[in-house]
């Protein structure tokens, strides 16, 4: 039987999304399981394999599945392992032979990479990077991730961990402390959490009026976005600051790999010109003359609800 479908699995800290995808990038059906109710990886793998089979049966594709593509935090493409994924309850400080375990359960091949690389593959296969051979995907969520594509292939590097651009240094001295142990990482300024941190710092050290002062509890990046839409000056400055930090770093990324485009993915990428304008301006200010106004900044074109599954599934076509 011709194997013309793949499964895409996106593992997040709380939930895991599973979908069946055809060669055109249509998600036929999808389902969700919890990621965080298992202490033991084997229990999780059993549950995951059952969910893949269930949704494949529902779509009449069980016998036509070519393979499974998985995106997971700290997923290593070379080794098929999930290494020290401290935010996953069944992973923690260990090395999980993930593709081996899942592939033994399902009797089809499994490919694994980290979530940002999966998004890059998805974008290249179905989205804004279709036809591009050299681009960088920046995922702006709770953290900042990246997937780098060189000559049409994801850059994995010597050890499979290439593309940690969220942990390049945006502020060299007295930079913000990052969860990774370093200081000044791009992520601490430009993730959703980083933006909220900027808001908190500025509200504490300044006294200008702002809609953000009326928020009870923790300020979220969504609050900042909504305030900015209403013209709140402080919220607008937070977007400008965040965008400039990204743009400055992007100029260095361009000097590295000379991409055709940098593609923004995730929550912050939905804020349109609020983020795009300062990113573009500061990137171009910091580029060598040969690249000024030549490198595109684009938003992901993957449908948000399917993006993670599509990205992961695209990996499985190479199996």
């Amino acid at each position: 039987m011709e194997r013309t479908f793949v499964a895409g699995v996106d593992i997040g800290g709380q939930t895991t999304k599973i979908g069946i995808v055809d060669a055109r990038g249509n998600v036929l059906d999808q389902t969700t399981i919890r990621s965080d109710t298992y202490k033991d990886v084997n229990q999780y793998i059993n549950e995951l394999a059952d969910a893949v089979k269930k949704v494949a049966r529902q779509t009449n594709t069980l016998e036509k599945l070519r393979g499974v593509g998985v995106g997971a935090p700290n997923g290593n493409y070379y080794t098929g392992t999930i290494d020290n994924a401290v935010n996953i309850t069944w992973a923690g400080n260990s090395v999980i032979p993930f593709t081996k375990l899942l592939s033994e359960k399902l009797n089809i091949p499994v490919a694994l990479t980290n979530d940002a690389n999966a998004a890059a593959v998805g974008e290249m296969t179905y989205g804004a990077a279709k036809g591009m051979k050299n681009f960088i995907m920046i995922t702006l969520g709770t953290g900042v991730g990246s997937g780098i594509v060189i000559n049409g292939e994801v850059l994995y590097g010597h050890d499979g961990f290439a593309g940690e651009l969220g942990h390049t240094t945006a502020v060299r001295y007295n930079g913000r402390k990052c969860n990774c142990g370093k200081s000044g990482c791009l992520e601490t300024y430009t993730s959703a959490i980083g933006m909220a941190r900027t808001a908190r710092e500025w509200l504490e050290t300044g006294s200008e009026p702002s809609l953000l002062r009326q928020i009870d509890g923790e300020i979220s990046s969504r609050d900042i976005y909504e305030a900015a839409l209403k013209g709140d000056a402080l919220a607008l400055r937070i977007f400008d600051y965040t965008g400039r930090k990204l743009g400055e770093s992007f100029a260095d990324f361009v000097a590295f790999s000379a991409p055709e485009a940098i593609i923004l993915f995730g929550g912050l990428a939905r804020s349109g010109d609020l983020i795009l304008k300062p990113v573009r301006e500061s990137m171009n200010e910091n580029l060598l003359p040969i690249w000024k106004n030549k490198v595109k900044i684009l938003f992901s074109m993957l449908r948000e609800s399917d993006a993670a599954i599509l990205g992961a599934s695209a990996l499985a076509w190479e199996l």
Copy 2:
């Protein structure tokens, strides 16, 4: 006749080196012409073609030449052109169809790249990177160049200009003005000229005694090296500062491409532990835990006198 020899051409601002190389990386013979006595590129090409033929005849390889590999400032591998090489008298602010011109004169294929990429190819073919698939070559000379190798191939990027790591930002705010028009470029701190600039600044703003104060005229990086060897505290601090700037930037490069090694080439790379120690320390301080103490810093193993020719010639084997 079997074509088992190649010519390597290294074009510098003042001189051009030409050599004939066998498959094992032996330079059979070499010669030199001036680069800077021609206003017109055709005159220069005539002279260069004659020099290649002459040294090929001397080594009895004229009929056995497979091709010519050329390393030149702003040489573009994709287009075979030298673009806006302002330090070359016959190039200047124009686009020179270099491979076309030389290949028409010699009737053999010609490949072109910039000098740092040529050095990377040379190192991979004959030097410290033999057998490596992922490494970064950093050339420390008058400027700072780089050649990035990914999966065994030089990274050229979308437009052929990838790998301008000397122009990534080492100091974000109030950085030194660079010739490229930007500020804070790594090159302004860690090239030979950058080191001399550090010396000048520190001597002017401080008053501590130093052997460097006794030097008539411009201080060179060689002067700093010699003073450091004699234990001069200021000179030692300049090496430490320069090395730390390099190491901090290297950590960001590792986060990008996860190389097996970073290889230092050029004048400063001959200063041994004086530079190696601060580079290694500051790189490791700034790396994510997964990479700490895992990425090698090596010195080029190409014989200095042949390096440029070997690097360029290695390109020609792909023709």
